[in-house]
Amino acid sequence: MKKEKILVITLMLTMLSLLFTRAVLSNTISTHGIELSEYENDIEELKKKNAVLKEEVLVKSSFTHIDKVASTSGFVASKAPFVISNSVPIARKQ
């Protein structure tokens, strides 16, 4: 009889502790979905900014743009080929 009592009390305690844990956990994570959603929005926003900056960098470093800027700044192409070949080491010159 005593054993049965202990068993019932143990089971009830286990049940109560599990219910309590569940309530605590549910409460803790209930707002995480919103947080995660906010993080995802932040990531998306940063990705957008990155894409816009990348686009600007690509346009400004394109030869088409550089050529346009160079010609409006008064630069002209060299008429004669001018080649700087690798210099021979001094030891080899002697």
Binding site: I29, H32, G33, I34, L36, S37, K48, A51, V52, K54, E55, L58, V59, S61, S62, F63, T64, D67, S78, P81, F82, V83, I84, S85
Partner: protein, 558 residues
């Protein structure tokens, strides 16, 4: 008592019927609609669109990338001051007030106002704080170098399902590599519309498209396009095309043609502008074909460079036809080497006759004439070489100087480059590697076979160097460099005869002759200032060659 009983029974039965009919209405008649409404409240499934892979030139610059644009839309039912909104929106979106006004007057919940709106314009409109105006994000193809290499790249359009699809050039050929795979995400909300954490990971990730790393050198591409365009304008040509290739690997370093189009606004151009003539257009190559025939004749021991032509003192008679030289001047003691230098048709006929049809066709096969080269671009074609039994003596004669036989420019470039590569023909290739995340899959170079022996290639190179130094185009060649090349002036066959005033002038060559770094072909379409290759295509070729040699840091050798 009985009537009360009956009344109660009737009352409950009527109520029961009413409930039943209402249930039938909700559960059967409006079942689908309510089910979708419930699903939309509970959550939704989103199609995750992968980002299309980039196309990068050899310096790692994305010549085809992606950018974010917005579709601006409005809900006319939410906009109260429609006239004011139409004026403000038309100013920001650069649209007619009447167009915007007409859209806002529609009795709809959603109307599209303008697509392709950039981020700055979006921010400007958002600051106006107009009710009922919204934006939908889209990723579109973006070409930072504008129309540079347009025909090489192709463009991205929509398929029947409204999905991005590559057409023509690399976008078309490598579409499956570039497009990636769609993913799906299930977003589930609670009763207040807040996302439920447990369901947020319920997604199959999209796989972004792979990047392509090209052999194309952005600097050479830029040089080639600039020089070709200026040449087309200077010589009043209808169009022009040019390609630069590394003969040792088959790598395409640059490819350009005019008229061209803007890939970002491709629909504004005629569809015939989309095709790349370097791989899809066949023409009679004229004298640029002569080096191939002469190399074959020397390689097969039919002639030697110093062999004297015994029939070149006058026009050559073949049946009812007479073969003349381009300037109607004839040399009794013309050698085979001189036949190339002076671009003498009679000398070429002599070499071809000595070689014979069988051997000439065998060499055509080795050069890949009549076959596609296998270049990795969408739309390559190759005109067939006619069957042996339909060749007549006049056909053998005219083919020796590049008339009566058609090739594509890439076919000619591929065959000619074997002379610059000790007789080995390489498969032309545009893509060097495919990049997927950190993994880079290199595409190996491919030998297509030997066309001529290495010694014949050396002999032919010397002949071609002399052709540049002593030929008609010597005035345009950069001083101090040994360049091997040949001019060509092909007449266009129209209604069974050749029109002498309408020509396709060209120049093909490689440099430096002793250790070729590039082989290039320049072709113009019906120039008006001069009909000759030496006065039109050759100067363009030499200007390009000079700039490439300087770019490669190669000093003059002489």
């Amino acid at each position: 008592m009985t009537w009360r009983y009956r009344f109660a029974l009737f009352f409950f039965f009527t109520i029961f019927l009413l409930i039943l009919s209402r249930l039938f209405y909700w559960q059967v008649v409006r079942a689908e609609e309510l089910s979708s409404m419930g699903e939309s409240q509970y959550g939704r499934s989103i199609k995750l669109i992968p980002e299309r892979g980039e196309i990068k030139t050899s310096d790692g610059f994305p010549i085809a990338a992606n950018k974010i644009t917005y579709l601006t839309f409005a809900n006319p039912k939410e906009i109260k001051e429609k006239e004011k909104a139409a004026i403000l929106l038309s100013q920001s979106l650069s649209l007619d007030v009447a167009t915007v006004s007409a859209n806002l007057a529609l009795d709809r919940f959603w109307v599209a106002l303008k697509s392709g709106v950039d981020g700055k314009t979006k921010e400007k409109i958002e600051k106006l704080d107009l009710p009922g105006v919204g934006f939908e994000k889209h990723t579109v193809r973006f070409y930072p170098e504008a129309s540079l290499a347009a025909k090489l790249l192709g463009f991205v359009g929509k398929n029947d399902d409204g999905e991005d699809t590559g057409y023509f050039g690399l976008e078309g050929y490598y579409d499956r590599q570039l497009r990636g795979k769609f993913g799906r995400a299930a977003v589930v909300n609670d009763a207040y519309g807040r996302p439920i954490l447990a369901k947020m990971n319920n997604r199959s990730s999209e796989i972004n498209g792979r990047n392509l790393m090209l052999h194309v050198d952005r600097s050479i591409q830029f040089i080639l396009e600039k020089e070709l365009l200026s040449g087309v304008e200077r010589y009043g040509a209808l169009g022009g095309m040019a390609a630069v290739m590394d003969p040792k690997t088959g790598s395409i370093l640059a490819m350009a043609s005019y008229p061209s189009f803007d890939q970002g606004n491709y629909s504004d151009y005629p569809t015939e502008y989309y095709t790349n003539p370097l791989i899809s257009y066949s023409y009679e190559p004229g004298s640029t074909f002569k080096p191939l025939v002469m190399a074959a004749a020397i390689d097969s021991h039919a002639v030697k460079p110093e062999t004297v032509c015994t029939t070149c003192g006058a026009p050559v008679q073949i049946g009812e036809y007479q073969i003349k030289t381009w300037n109607d001047e004839y040399k009794d003691d013309l050698t085979m080497s001189e036949a190339i230098q002076l671009s003498d048709n009679t000398g070429m006929v002599y070499a071809a006759q000595k070689m014979g049809l069988d051997r000439m066709l065998q060499y055509f096969k080795k050069y890949g004439i009549g076959e596609v080269t296998g270049i990795d671009l969408q739309g390559e074609m190759a005109p067939e070489v006619r069957a042996k039994d339909s060749w007549y003596p006049i056909d053998l004669a005219t083919a020796s100087f590049g008339q009566g036989i058609s090739v594509t420019p890439i076919e000619l470039l591929s065959a000619f480059s074997s002379i610059a590569n000790d007789g080995i023909r390489m498969e032309p290739h545009v893509v060097a590697a495919v990049e997927e995340g950190d993994e880079i899959i290199k595409i190996p170079k491919k030998e297509l076979g030997r066309t001529i022996s290495a010694s014949t290639a050396k002999v032919m190179t010397e002949i071609l160097v002399k052709a540049v130094q002593r030929g008609e185009a010597k005035w345009a060649a950069p001083k101090g460099y040994r360049i091997a090349g040949k001019t060509g002036t092909a007449q266009i066959p129209i209604a069974g005869h050749y029109d002498a005033e309408k020509t396709i002038p060209s120049f093909i060559g490689f440099a430096p002759a002793d250790d070729p770094k590039f082989v290039a072909l320049v072709v113009l379409d019906r120039p008006t200032t001069s009909i000759y290759g030496s006065e039109t295509a050759a100067p363009i070729f030499f200007e390009v060659a000079k700039k490439i040699l300087t770019y490669y840091n190669i000093p003059p050798s002489e």
